[in-house]
């Protein structure tokens, strides 16, 4: 299993202070998945995917995963089998 850097379409909410939160992530066949919860936000590098940005630890489809805001785009660590 390999990790690949995948840029994704994301629906995002900006609050009046400029804080950004991902709301929905678009995946294959245009399917839209809700970001159920955000556990953590911090600057982090993804050595596996090959990038760096604001890393959100989120729950999607009841599973915990990362999504990175690499201003101006968003990427995830896609598992490739």
């Amino acid at each position: 299993m390999m990790i690949r850097k995948r840029y994704v379409d994301v629906d995002v909410h900006f609050d009046s202070s400029g804080n950004v939160r991902p709301k929905y992530i678009y995946w294959d066949e245009g399917k839209k998945y809700e970001v159920e919860h955000v556990y953590d936000v911090r600057e982090a590098a993804s050595t596996k995917a090959g990038g760096q940005g604001l890393r959100f630890t989120v729950r999607v489809l009841n599973k915990e995963t990362y999504i990175y805001y690499e201003n101006p785009a968003w990427f995830v660590e896609e598992k490739v089998y």
Partner: protein
Amino acid sequence: MDRVILHSDMNSFYANVECLYHPEFAGKPVAVGGSVESRHGIILAKNQEAKKYGVRTAEALWEARQKCPGLIIVPPRYSLYQRFSQKARHIYYQYSEQVEPFGLDESWIDITGSGNIVGHRTGEEIAHEIRQRVKEELGLTVSIGVSWNKIFAKFGSDYKKPDAVTVITRDNYKDIIYPQDVGDLLYVGYATRKKLRSAGIWTIGQLANTPLEFLHNRLGKMGEMLWLFAAGLDVSEVKRFNPAKKDNDLVIKSIGNSMTTPRDLVNIGDVRLVVYLLTESVGMRLREAGFLCQVVGISVRNKALASFTRQYKIGKPTDLTKEMAATAMQLFLENYDFNIDMAIRSLGVRAMALVPASTPIQVDLFTDEQQRIKQAKLEKSIDNLRRRFGNNAIRRAITLGDDKMSVLDIKSDNVIHPVGFFQQAEE
């Protein structure tokens, strides 16, 4: 009470940033090189693996490839490196307001007054925390030196690479620093090292043990400064960081060379020779830095130590030695008369109002552009020959007859005193 100063140095900076973005390069020799197409590019940075093959910064790409046939070379992405440089500085800024960047990949951090943040932790512990954070948050490694002054802190960061912390204390500095080559001391460049070695000073310890008066006689103010450095007596402040300033790096505003001539200049021929020597060096540096200048200035000082400067705005931005020297000579002729004035002791030529070399130039009806392009090619070839074989490999015929002048290698002997180091710290 001693200060606690950190010096953070990002290892193989450009190369490691590129490796972060290319996980497929893991374990391979990688370098960041300029101008691959023109075949005249040089290595700007190399990673740990490439270092093992002997790849060196500033050497030609073909040389590096010879040493390391599997070397991966990628072009530089300066905006990306700027981004990481800023991010690193923001991490440092969380530990102190006194964060002084030194180029994109280095910064001094003074945590002496950061009691409320640092608590009872030692400089070493903070250094390790910073090192860890840069690794996790930015995916890059740093080497950090900890000491009571900027010079030793910088020495510490150079000592162990990559990904390490070195503490230079009052108990160990003589063991760690003094045996090292004097060229490893900050601001001891090629020329100064040569001068010190010729005076019998080869190590930093020897420098520290040399009488101050001797150093003052041999190297002037510089000698005193270096002695202070070697003795751990540098008291220069780590300046305050201004996060609002987008670019904390010094921008080159002008490039100049000046010299006190080995003998007095008594006629126009003498002056022309020196002006050309100086302008050659300025031209080479201008071309290397990728700039054109719009104003040429001269500075003149005579035997009575009276001096003046003059400048002239030229029609077209240029980096051609021929054009700049002609302007400099013109300025001189208009402002000096050997019949009235005395012999000259010192001359300077400066290229000012710089613009990037990629700036498009408006062509006019009166100038022979073909000739200018030919001249540019010629000067570029001369640059390349000098880069490969030394600055004296090719020289103007005018310098050959004169014994004293022909041995001058202005470009190599050029010492650029970083403006930042000598500026007063802001209140």
